[in-house]
């Protein structure tokens, strides 16, 4: 037996999973409260004690860990045009597992810089201009950042013709040079930035957050890796992670237009794409769901009165550890989860529009076409523990009332019942065949 311990330091819970890489089996999983204020080792020790009750004493052959504790990886990014380099920058940051706490376009102002200093990001991603294109914006923003307070690392991933000067301007800061996230219009190049974000996270941030003990990546990056690995088996797929503070959507699919007559517009999107809705979650961000969906829709779905919905939502946002107790609570959680899933998948998926042109009907696609996605994985407490998962799935699928959104037409649901997805992502970098076999057995 070779047992690998996989740890996920979450914002609330520290989850441990142990896998045997000789028999390709899951040996056990347990969790305990995360103790980032004192020493994360304490929470881990509690979780391991729980684990030992299931598995007996085990010598671990290897330990791997990921983390979203201490606020996760918080990033601020800037670009030039919102739908071009600023979007490319946000795709890079989200793909690396970060939560974007600020996104700026065009030339930043002194007020923006103050806001960023207050925000105190873990990493700043500075972009703008295609190669050989606009230099003015990134130079201006670099000047502002050079004089800003705070010592967060800055990744420079903009117009290559300006980077030398940008690096000179930022010589007093911890600045890292990277390839342009958008070297030309219509070309997305986020892999180098993603890799660099991960390296900086590993080298600088993990320690600063008091998260030593083998943390190798942010949790969302691990979930993305697990999804990519699973896609080698099931084909195009999506993962929905509904948490207390955010809703993360992952899609593993090229998503390109299915027919030659469809015209693609806008920035191309990555094969492995993650979006995170920071304003939508089941507890901390529960207000966001009601703001987007409207209290009346939540009321209709939950069969609670609107006043009751508003009152309960207020309560949930304060009591973030509240679990549903009775049918009414369950009903409200269902409605909130359904709306969170609907909103987040609508924002993630691409769109198709019809235009009547001189040569007849034309189709224009932006973003990814996910209509052919056949598998959806659900993870996160609210989804794992729901007894209405199939109904929730419907809210992630194509809707006749919103035909422009290219969400999956029909998909099989897999539920991450034991909460092992991030652990399998960690394991995928080390023993992918084992991770895949365990996911095949455990996700159903």
């Amino acid at each position: 037996m070779k047992a690998v311990l996989l740890i996920d330091y979450g914002s609330t819970y520290t989850k441990v999973v142990v896998a045997d890489i000789t028999s390709n089996k899951l040996l056990g999983c347990a969790s305990s409260y995360t103790t980032v204020e004192t020493d994360v080792g304490e929470g881990l020790a509690c979780a391991l004690k729980e684990l030992e009750k299931q598995t007996g004493k085990i010598d671990f052959y290897k330990k791997l860990a990921c983390s979203s504790a201490a606020g996760g990886l918080r990033m601020v990014a800037s670009g030039l045009v919102p739908e071009l380099t600023a979007k490319a920058a946000s795709l890079a940051a989200m793909g690396a597992g970060a939560k974007i706490t600020g996104l700026y376009s065009y030339e930043m102002t002194e007020d923006d810089i103050e806001e960023i200093s207050d925000n105190a990001p873990d990493i700043f991603l500075l972009t703008g201009g295609t190669d050989g294109g606009n230099k003015k914006c990134i130079l201006h923003n670099a000047e502002l950042l050079a004089n800003a307070s705070g010592d967060y690392p800055i990744i420079v991933a903009g117009n290559r013709n300006a980077t030398k000067e940008v690096m000179r301007i930022l010589s007093n800061r911890r600045a890292y040079l990277c390839e342009n996230v958008m070297p030309s219009i219509g070309t997305l190049n986020i892999e180098p930035a993603r890799q660099l974000i991960r390296d900086i996270f590993l080298e600088k941030i993990v320690h600063a957050k008091g998260l030593d003990g083998g943390v190798s990546m942010p949790t969302p990056a691990a979930v993305l890796m697990a999804s990519e690995l699973l896609a080698t088996d099931v084909g195009d797929m999506m993962t929905i992670d509904l948490g207390g503070a955010t809703t993360d959507i992952y899609s593993i699919a090229d998503g390109e237009p299915r027919e030659a007559k469809i015209l693609y517009k806008g920035l191309p999107e990555p094969y492995a794409k993650r979006t995170v809705e920071g304003d939508i979650g089941m507890r901390y961000s529960v207000h966001g769901i009601v703001e987007v969906a409207g209290a009346s829709k939540v009321s209709k779905l939950s069969k609670l009165s609107e006043n009751n919905v508003i009152r309960q939502v207020e309560y949930l946002s304060k009591r973030t550890d509240a679990l549903p107790q009775d049918d009414e609570d369950k009903s409200l959680d269902f409605a909130l989860a359904a709306m969170a899933i609907e909103t987040a998948t609508l924002r993630h998926a691409g769109t198709m529009e019809e235009y009547y042109t001189s040569s007849g009907l034309s189709y224009v696609q932006s973003g990814k076409d996910l209509t052919n996605v056949k598998t959806i994985v659900m993870t996160g407490g609210a989804l794992i523990n729901s007894d209405r998962q199939n109904e929730l799935l419907e809210h992630a699928l194509y809707d006749e009332l919103q035909p422009q959104s290219l969400r999956p037409k029909k998909a099989n649901l897999l539920v991450d019942k034991k909460y092992i997805l991030s652990a399998m992502g960690l394991l995928s970098g080390y023993a992918p065949t084992v991770a895949l076999e365990i996911m095949r057995a455990e996700l159903n």
Binding site: G129, G132, G133, K136, T357, S358, S362
Partner: protein, 135 residues
């Protein structure tokens, strides 16, 4: 010396792709750095691409007769977006029916286009104009 940068595309709900490809190759051969947005391009897309690429000129094609409607207000949007003074050409079958070219040219110039090219113009004529205007 760095090549002059052009943003090229067919404006509006216009799907005529062939001329666009010919222009792309001709301008590239002619020594320009061309960002080709293809067909069905909105004013906003032209402007966004021109900002990111720090373009020297925007070249608008229109083949289906609705050019006048599609191009209206584009110069104002350029000015608002910080592209004030950017060189802007338009060409193709830009209006419906047989109208005297002088009238058409006058109307498009009044809209803020620096040069207006009628049907049947060769790419070389546009290249020559660009070389003249972008010194």
């Amino acid at each position: 010396m760095q090549k002059k940068r052009l943003v090229l595309g067919v404006i509006g709900a216009d799907v005529h792709a062939v001329g666009n490809k010919i222009l792309y190759h001709a301008f590239t051969e002619g020594g320009f750095d061309v960002t080709n947005l293809g067909v069905m391009v909105s004013q906003e897309e032209f402007i966004a691409a021109a900002i990111e690429t720090d373009a020297d000129a925007i070249i608008v094609s229109s083949l289906y007769g609705h050019g006048e409607l599609d191009c209206r207000g584009m110069r104002d949007k350029c000015d608002e977006s910080g592209l004030d003074g950017i060189l802007m050409y338009v060409g193709g079958n830009i209006v419906v029916g047989k109208q005297p070219f002088e009238d058409v040219e006058k109307r498009f110039k009044a809209m803020g286009f620096d040069r207006v090219f009628g049907p049947g113009t060769s790419p070389e004529a546009a290249i020559e104009a660009l070389n003249e205007d972008l010194v």
